[in-house]
């Protein structure tokens, strides 16, 4: 944000333009928001206090939905899985995409552009396609990944990624990594261009090794971007739904064995489409919104980015 600059425009303006011009420009957003956000927003609040069944039946339950969610072990499972995914997913995602960017960055010209394209290409495929395709790629005995593992290290052909509660999460994280590592890499590549090469040279001359240069010169320079990527991957992680939904749709347990692939949004979807209670689903949505807001604020505070 750059308020100072805008201030200047405002002050200097000789005001040939009417005051309502900017409102006209944001009018479409305000209109669409009033029409398609205000009502659903209010309705989502209202619904959270009801229990519903079918198109017409509903009963006021007060805070009952929230009490139920907080006491439901399935919700705790969903919350746990979501937190595990966002922590480990991000912990794998950030270094991988940064690593890709670092390896690419030292290269030049056309080759760099090609590899950048290769790494980025998975993110053009929709989650629903990726989910269904990876269910086959991850299949035991005949899947691409297991065949590769077997050929490389002589082990892993029978690994049942999606049928074992312990391996479902790694499978989802791997798939997610394939999908988005290239996307995040692009952010880091740009950040690396901003690293002051003179500083790097100076550090080298002072006898600093690769790691120290990275730690003391590169890392501080790319910190804002790292925070940005951290924030968007966390928000994305908490909303994860289509990918596990598509991965699991060919198995008979849509939320993974023993609910090991049940995430908060999946729990919400289940409340709406398996229990058939839209009230409960709304309440879950609000709990999720609260969690996401809290986590984002904490991250901004901890990383000191709030004052930017």
């Amino acid at each position: 944000m750059n308020p100072a600059e805008n201030e200047r425009v405002g002050r200097r303006r000789r005001s040939p333009t009417p005051r309502w011009t900017p409102y006209l420009f944001v009018a479409p957003y305000i209109a669409v928001t009033l029409a398609f956000f205000a009502y659903p927003f209010a309705h989502a609040i209202e619904l959270a206090f009801y229990q519903t069944a079918g198109p017409n039946a509903r009963v006021w339950v007060g805070l009952g939905n929230f009490r139920y969610i907080l006491s439901d072990p399935d919700f705790r499972t969903a919350l746990y899985n979501t937190v595990v995914f966002s922590v480990f997913g991000t912990a794998v995602m950030l270094p991988s995409s940064l690593g890709l960017a670092l390896v690419l960055n030292s290269g030049r010209g056309r080759m760099k552009a090609w590899f950048r394209l290769f790494f980025f290409s998975p993110s053009v495929v929709g989650q629903i396609f990726v989910g269904i395709i990876f269910a086959v790629v991850l299949a035991p005995d005949y899947g691409l990944l297991n065949r590769f593992l077997q050929a490389l290290v002589g082990w892993g052909l029978e690994t049942r990624w999606l049928e074992n509660s312990a391996t479902v999460m790694p499978a989802i994280i791997i798939t997610n990594l394939w999908l988005y590592a290239g996307f995040n890499m692009v952010y880091f590549l740009a950040a690396l261009q901003n690293v002051d090469q003179n500083l790097v040279e100076a550090a080298r001359i002072d006898g600093a090794g690769c790691w120290r240069v990275f730690r003391h010169v590169t890392l501080p320079a790319i910190k804002p971007v790292a925070i940005f990527v951290l924030l968007i991957s966390t928000i994305g992680s908490f909303q994860l739904f289509e990918l596990p939904y598509a991965l699991m749709r060919s198995t008979t347990s849509p939320y993974g064995p023993n609910n090991s692939a049940l995430f908060i949004v999946g729990y919400l979807y289940d409340a709406a489409y398996s229990i058939g209670d839209l009230g409960l689903a709304s309440a879950v949505g609000w709990v999720l919104a609260l969690i996401m807001l809290t986590v984002s604020l904490i991250q901004l505070k901890l990383t000191g980015a709030a004052n930017d």
Partner: protein, 308 residues
């Protein structure tokens, strides 16, 4: 000992050889090592694409029999266009016979219309946010940032309910209008427009140009890379969108490519051949668009991130 090991050993041998031959320039060896790492990583990222392509042309009965392609001698019976032929077979529906082209047409229309609409309205709003200082601007931006933190699933049921009441179920308006002007796009355009020099705008105002004229003739030409990047983001998002079309659309002939393809693989149907052929086709338009716009896309993505 198999192919993968041979390849790895050869790569290592080449690296060692280079190192031995040119001891005084270890950097050269390092560069080759880096290239080898990149090639392997790229192979990993591209393997699923190779698999999809092979699988789309394989007879569905040998989908998993070979990791990629069967030996050349078996091509005659195993490699064919059967999956595509089946995909394009007419299917019956509530409203008559439908051929797959219809879904491609629908998807193309929805994606391009969404792109045009969003580019226009988001850039309008972004312009106001970047270049005007008006009452309520700060609050509006705070509200927009907050709305990005709310999980979209939360509004699924209430929005559905609302669309029912205004009669937009089974209409493309339900997919195009609510997102016509959105916070995400407006922020992106605002970010890009901040760097448009105010002097240009001021000069035009002195010349008596209308604000819309300034927006369309002066500002928009200067943020063309951002516009191109945003086009790709919106088009990609809408092309791959699954949940919205799946829930809001009813008539078979209005459905989109991801919705119809996902129907081919489920508990009750396992038309992986058709699904993969369709996936293969659905990647094509996105890939074309991406190749055409990747330069702008990547550079804009990166400047956006750097500004944080």
């Amino acid at each position: 000992m198999n192919l993968i090991h041979v390849v790895l050993l050869c790569a290592a041998a080449v690296g060692a050889l280079l190192y031995a031959v040119d001891r005084r320039r270890p950097l050269l060896a390092g560069r080759y090592a880096r290239l080898i790492v990149l090639v392997f990583l790229a192979a990993g990222f591209l393997a699923p694409f190779a698999w999809i392509t092979c699988a789309a042309f394989k007879d569905r009965r040998v989908l998993l029999e070979y990791a990629f392609l069967p030996p050349l001698s078996a091509w005659r019976e195993m490699i064919n266009l059967g999956n595509f032929r089946k995909l394009f077979e007419p299917r019956t529906s509530l409203q008559g016979t439908i051929v797959f082209w219809q879904y491609i047409l629908n998807s193309l229309f929805l994606s391009s219309a969404a792109t045009v609409i969003q580019v226009f309205f988001c850039s309008l709003g972004g312009y106001a946010l970047a270049k005007f200082r008006f009452q309520g601007r700060r609050n509006l931006m705070l509200f927009m940032a907050g709305s990005l933190m709310l999980p979209s699933m939360l509004f699924l049921a209430p929005t559905y309910d609302m669309l029912v009441h205004i009669g937009w179920i089974d209409s493309y308006a339900a997919l195009l209008v609510p997102s016509a002007a959105n916070a995400f796009g407006m922020f992106l355009f605002r970010q890009a427009m901040l760097s448009v020099p105010n002097s240009l705008i001021e000069a035009a105002r002195v010349d008596g140009a209308s604000e819309f004229h300034i927006y369309s003739r002066i500002v928009m030409p200067l943020v063309q890379p951002m516009t191109a990047a945003f086009c790709l983001i919106v088009f990609m998002g809408q092309w791959n969108a699954f949940l919205g079309p799946q829930i809001y659309l009813q008539s078979d002939y209005k459905l989109t490519v991801p919705v119809i393809l996902s129907q081919y693989v489920s508990q009750f149907q396992e038309e992986y051949g058709m699904f993969l052929a369709g996936t293969f086709l659905s990647i094509v338009p996105i890939a074309v668009l991406f190749l055409a716009l990747q330069k702008e896309f990547i550079s804009e993505l990166t400047t956006g991130a750097n500004k944080g």
